[in-house]
Amino acid sequence: MSALLTALGVCKNFGLTPALRGVDLSVDAGEVLAVMGPSGSGKSTLLHCLAGILLPDAGEVTFDGERVDRMPDRQRSRLRRTAFGFVFQFGQLVPELPALENIALPLLLAGQRRRVAETAAEQWLARLGLDGLGHRVPGELSGGQAQRVAVARALVAGPRLVFADEPTGSLDSVAADQVMDMFVDTAKSEGVGIVVVTHEARVAAYADRTVTVRDGRVVQPAVVS
């Protein structure tokens, strides 16, 4: 099986400071990949380069056979909207909109009819154990509930790859487990690739595979027979 996303020799500098110094990695469909590393190791920069939010200074990022780093801006934006989903640590929900509309948002932006979008959003609410909470605005949800809404929004449009940057960073361990359970279930049932940046080993342990980034490189542990 060929990888859904591959990075080859990805380098990124901020001014004179190198953030990534030649990263290789790949993600398959249905695979959960955890990216770990200390603060400032470059793991978030890596995620942004993989997702086409940042352009690498050198190296290649290929999604489904197409070079993301060579796409024009408009095409990369489209890719992010249609093929990718995103979950961040904080503040990604629209505070004025109820949970249901927050989840439906990607479908509405893609031009779906409201009724279709809201029906899909309701199905996600039920799937996440949030039935009956669709009318609440984010401020009326607990941290764990709001984060599950954010995950639903990332998944509602049927992305092929989800990028999550510290998605459990603001949650207690029980809520974190619920969010990670959902990611794994979705990856396995829908064949979605998932890249999770985390500094928590308990979160990374949900992944099929973990890579560790340090000083802008993927750490290669010695092979132990």
């Binding site: 359970d181 794994v184 080993a201 342990a205 290669q220 542990p221 010695a222 132990v224």
Partner: protein, 177 residues
């Protein structure tokens, strides 16, 4: 110590034979390490000598006689006292990890590589436990969580040590043995 109180706790629920007690213990607490029969009978004999349990019946069985045990009022009091007393935290030190890092640093070997390899091994075990946890009963997942949090603590130390190797190497090599 823990085993005697676990048996007391099971006897508090109902009177039982030694054989039943072993089965109940294994189901509830013994996933990793089931009790041996010898240990069960030795512990029961000790509890009986201490007046915490008593024999309330003897029935002939297929093999030896089956004694039926019951917790005494004194046993209940002792169990309550044990449950209400906090335990001293155990450091659970994996001193072997510490020793390897110090030996590597003092001899100029590659401690970072050791820590990276160890991190991989810890993460692999955490992945296995997390996968098991996803299908485990609530009680089993509670035990798996306990194991996961302890391994995670090791990992945090590994990352912490890895971040300070450069400073540590000078300090450790300074110390004359």
């Amino acid at each position: 110590m823990t085993v005697s109180y676990a048996l007391l706790g099971l006897l508090e629920l109902a009177d039982r034979h030694g054989y039943d007690l072993k089965q109940s213990y294994d189901r509830r607490f013994g996933a990793a390490r089931p009790l041996r029969f010898g240990q069960v009978y030795r512990t029961l004999a000790q509890l009986e000598r201490d007046g915490l349990i008593e024999i309330v019946g003897v029935e002939p069985g297929a093999g030896p006689e089956r004694k039926r045990y019951s917790i005494t009022a004194e046993g209940v009091t002792d169990l309550e006292r044990w449950l209400s007393e906090p335990e001293d935290p155990q450091p659970h030190l994996q001193t072997v990890l510490f020793t390897k890092v110090v030996l590597a640093l003092q001899s100029g070997r590659n401690a970072e590589q050791f820590l990276d390899t160890q991190r991989e091994r810890h993460l692999a075990v955490m992945r296995e436990l997390t996968a098991a946890r996803r299908t485990a009963s609530l009680q089993d997942s509670l035990l798996l969580d306990y194991q996961l949090f302890h391994i995670e603590a090791d990992l945090r130390w590994i990352d912490h040590a890895a971040g300070r190797l450069d400073a540590l190497v000078d300090k450790i090599q300074e110390i004359r043995l």
